[in-house]
Amino acid sequence: MAAVLEVTPENAWTALWRRLQQDRVGALCLGIVVAYLVMILFAAAGWLARGWSEEVGVPYANPGFLGDRPNLEAALQKGSQHKGVAPDLRNVDPLAPKYEEWAKRTGELKGTEAERSLTLPWGGDRWGRDVLDKAIKGSQVSIAVGVVAALCATLIGTLLGALAGFYGRWVNDGLEWLYNVFTSIPSILLIFSLAAVLRTGAFAHLFASGIWTVVIILAFTGWTGMYRLVRAEYMKHRSREYVLAAQAIGASAASRMFVHILPNVSHVILVQLSLLVVAFIKVEVILSFLGLGVPVDMVSWGTMLSEAQTELVIGKWWQLAAASVFMAIFLTAFSMLTDSLRDALDPKLR
């Protein structure tokens, strides 16, 4: 009787978790990324930064810790509201008889304007919106766009890569041609062409929300790297013994591709996916900055930076600081987590 192996082999994901815990930097980065994810979940649910678009402070309200900094812009606007008497046009204005009625109606409509605060925790922007709230909401939009686009690109890249690597021959030739076409166009030109087409094109009304335009652009241009990696892995795996064994017991091609091989190459996909998230967030920020990204009624790190550019000249640095710091911390933590992930998933690489 053959001896039965008592030890159950360690599950790959438990092993990953164990190795990540030993890596202190990796654990810290994981903590930061999880904190961001909790923050954007709260923001999406409306528990946090719900009022990011409300004008709660005076224009360019000072940050709380710089309360007595002179705020010329707010003072100017306040002054202009009360000064300036309209010249009397009663004699020449043909609409003069209506003045009385208008005055009455304005009197009825007069709402109470909320008292605007002079300082906000991290300052205010041009319209007196809370910069901290904007940064939180902006994190939600930027990270969500980056992650969703990376998932779409991963889906395209994995599917095509699996087909090319598994079937080889003419499928491979055709997909390699497609890959060559996409990679021989400089990526920024492909992005710009897509942006030009999607904003005026036949399908422009479909993406009225604007955010999907960015996701489509990123997914359409960013799948090539994933395709190449997955294809190479599938070429390696398709003639391995476990796949041949699966074929021998009658597993279909689809089942061999996605049930048997896919779990064994998932670590490659996961690492590449996180690299894509970082790259896509950076591109989204640039596109939004240029006005080709998220629409004007939304906020992302990119739109914050584009406002911050003009604010900096008049010495209002807090919006720039908020957007840069939120973005830098997330991307640093995410990149280092990716490094740890790669080390943990592939111990041979060390």
Binding site: S184, S193, A195, A196, A328, F330
Partner: protein
């Protein structure tokens, strides 16, 4: 290369044909009579079936005649000739400066691998890569150009030398700083790969000092992947850094295509995309041919 080129042409054509807006409406504007629209359609060949239009498109590409820009009425070919010099004035120095800074830094940290210096530099690199290029430009332009006044904030002139000496240094400096972090990381890994090989062990065994090994043996071999990487960056020189060109109002190709996107100027976008793709392919081909000369082990299929 020919099938790929055909693919690029087809991709660009169908992208603009089926997903783009109707050129006649874009051209005629909001208030246009049916006759005007029909006239434009006839002029552009839009009343023909799509394969005839594809033929027109291919003829435009081959004859280098994309007609005029829809919005500025400037010849598309003259846009190339007038914008490329400005782009090259900043991209070529950027490429050289980046390589000149990144290679010694990478060699230094690879020499001190595993020490505090190495780890600090690598951590700084990761952090530096996480900050958006936009932030570098905004802050750099504000501090170095506006507050300290060391450089002009933006501008461009007609004289090449004046551009290179006065207007180009700030954008070049900023781009080189941004490119430094990822390149240092990459080149460090190239150096580290070499330090593990057998010939380094042999050199150590015969008693060579570490600096001599680094300088005489590792550097020479690690330069092969470094040069490969630099040659991969060369096509980017022509596209240029559109962000720098926008911020510093440099009349280059990158800024031109950004403006073309904003005004839906399809001929300019199409022409730039196709010709720069062709240029990229040619440069890559030239690089492959050069390799087979430099390294006889590499064979062209």
């Amino acid at each position: 290369m020919v099938p790929t080129l055909a693919g690029v042409v087809l991709l660009v054509f169908f992208l603009f044909k089926f997903f783009g807006g109707d050129p006649s409406q874009l051209l005629a504007g909001q208030v246009a009579s049916q006759e005007q629209i029909d006239a434009i359609r006839r002029e552009l060949g839009l009343d023909q079936p799509w394969w005839v239009q594809l033929g027109i498109f291919v003829r435009e590409i081959v004859s280098f005649d994309f007609g005029k820009s829809w919005m500025t009425r400037e010849q598309v070919s003259s846009i190339f000739l007038s914008r490329l010099p400005a782009t090259l004035t900043i991209t070529i120095p950027i490429l050289l400066l980046e390589a000149a800074l990144a290679i010694p830094t990478a060699m230094l940290v690879a020499y001190y691998r595993g020490t505090l210096l190495d780890r600090t530099v690598m951590a700084i690199c990761v952090a530096a890569m996480s900050i958006s290029f936009l932030v570098y430009i905004i802050v750099g332009q504000y501090v170095l150009g506006f507050q300290l006044g060391w450089f002009p904030v933006q501008g461009w002139s007609d004289s090449f030398w004046r551009n290179l000496v006065t207007y180009a240094p700030l954008p070049i400096l900023l781009a080189a700083l941004v490119g430094l972090a990822p390149q240092t990381r990459l080149y460090r890994s190239f150096f580290l790969d070499e330090t593990k090989s057998d010939y380094v062990r042999t050199a150590r065994a015969k008693g060579l000092s570490e600096p001599a090994i680094m300088r005489k043996h590792v550097l020479r071999n690690a330069l092969v992947p470094v040069v490969t990487n630099v040659s991969l960056l060369i096509p980017g020189v022509f596209v240029g850094s559109f962000l720098l060109e926008i911020f510093f109002s440099i009349p280059g190709l990158g800024r031109e295509i950004y403006l073309a996107v904003n005004r839906s100027d399809y001929p300019v976008i199409q022409a730039v995309t196709i010709y720069l793709s062709v240029l990229t392919m040619l440069i890559n081909l030239a690089a492959d041919v050069l390799y087979s000369f430099v390294d006889p082990r590499i064979q062209l299929r």
